[in-house]
Amino acid sequence: MRPWVDLDSHGWVIKPEDEAAWGKLADDYRGGTAPQPFDQILTVVRANGCKTVVVENRYVDVDYRSEYSNFWSLKFDGQSSFTRRLHFFSTDLDEERLHELPDEPGYLGYSIIRPVEYGRVGRTVLRPPPELQGATLASVSDRVSLFGNELGVTGVPFCQQDGEYLRCAHAAAWICHYVAHRRELTGRRSTAEIVEMTPTMLSPERALPSKGMTLNQLQAVFGALNQPALFYGLRNMPRVPGVPEPDPASDAEGNLLAPGRWDRRLITIICRYLNSGFPVLIGAGDHAFVLVGWLRRDDGEVSFIACDDQVGPYEVIDDPFDHYKTPWESIMVPLPPRVFLSGESAEGRAHRVFRSIASQAEGLEQLAERLVNGEIVLRTMLRTGASFKRDVAKQTSSDQILRDIRYARLPHWVWVVEAHDKERCDSGPCVVAAAIFDSTSFDLAPPLDVLSLPGIVAIYPPDDGKPVIGDGSPDPWSSLLPVH
């Protein structure tokens, strides 16, 4: 058996105080052939001021143990069935008091290290680095018990492929799954269960050692995880009113370039789902990775934040058209199964409704015009009906509107489309219209549940009930999106 478990120790503390000490920690755990993810983990925790690393010895990780049972135990060469779990703290902890940590230990998250040579980083959840403070992230709250101390961390999950049993597609699927699990949208499945969910008949390859997954296999896995994915190929992007359609780009010889080099509509598609808290899987060449957030830079452009199993957690991608995996080719968005309506259809329908009403109402001509000239832009997100009803209290001062909306019969998931006055976005309330759609409706002409315009609010009950129309404020209100 390869040495990995210290039989006489619960764990130990490392306090790296200089580059050499951090370097030694990296050398001990990064693994030989794919070191970048662990290096990135150390970069993230150091950015958060990490002072103490607690190594939890002989940790039984549900994922790695499942991998061990299904694959590593079949090897002739012995391998440990245990992992180590590294916990990162921003405070200077006393090694003698690990059994009773201080109330505010400055927990920065954890990373499970598998006892394998290639791809050592297992389940990892870290607090995002300070540079991502203003980012929209598909973060989840995670709870861990370290020697009986209950600790919590909010961040985006990450894991690395091991090259034999788990490949990039498995790691990417697991990241999407773990987010859904922590949001209580689905039960917990181990990594080995994800491998076993992969239909072998959808690939000409033998299942083990894994050569990866076809996108059809990935879709089958997401279905089995109760997260069937919306699928977009960049060669066939949808048209969404209000979103500019870029002209195709060509190279110097006049050959048309792949859409993943120029079609900026991918940014709006991805952001709709990230705004909803759902990670987005990108297929690019022979690789898959997950976008977990976005942030608006000072120059107004969007940077994406990725969890790429070849790079590590919280990779910032400033330009999707100049990335090491450009051109991106496909987008998969695992969603709750009864979200039949796409964000694109909801946004397109909202644009049509806003434009139709504003162009025919006396006094809203400017709104109609500004929708067309781009001064008013639409922002779209998926919310539960319950969270929409909860948060609407922050958007209205009218008890009547609050009452009408909270008594409205809404489906479990709704698409919320807000019309933002761009000039106001940096200075305060900026929403001038909003439309709420039933997420179980069809992409063609989805019906409205709630419509809010300057001066009026309309609620459309299901089953052809009579619309409830009330007075609304003429003033803009705050967005449900913290960043937009």
């Binding site: 996108l215 699928f231 001066g455 619309p467």
Partner: protein, 62 residues
């Protein structure tokens, strides 16, 4: 719209009420060219996903 006087706000609401009460009629009140453009955009969402399934599914990611 913050500067609207009470009378203007009342007039706006009066104008909006029938439009939001009968949305289908309101949506069909746009000029035909604009309606066609919106129809095509709606259809493009459905088509985009159908076409993508046929083209991309067999790509392998590893």
């Amino acid at each position: 719209m913050e500067h609207l006087k009470t009378a203007e706000l009342t007039a706006l609401r009066k104008s909006l009420a029938p439009l939001v009460s009968n949305l289908e009629k309101t949506v069909n009140g746009l000029p035909e060219s604009e309606r066609t453009s919106y129809d095509e955009a709606e259809q493009s969402v459905v088509d985009a996903r159908r076409k993508a399934e046929a083209h991309e599914g067999l790509l392998q990611v590893n």
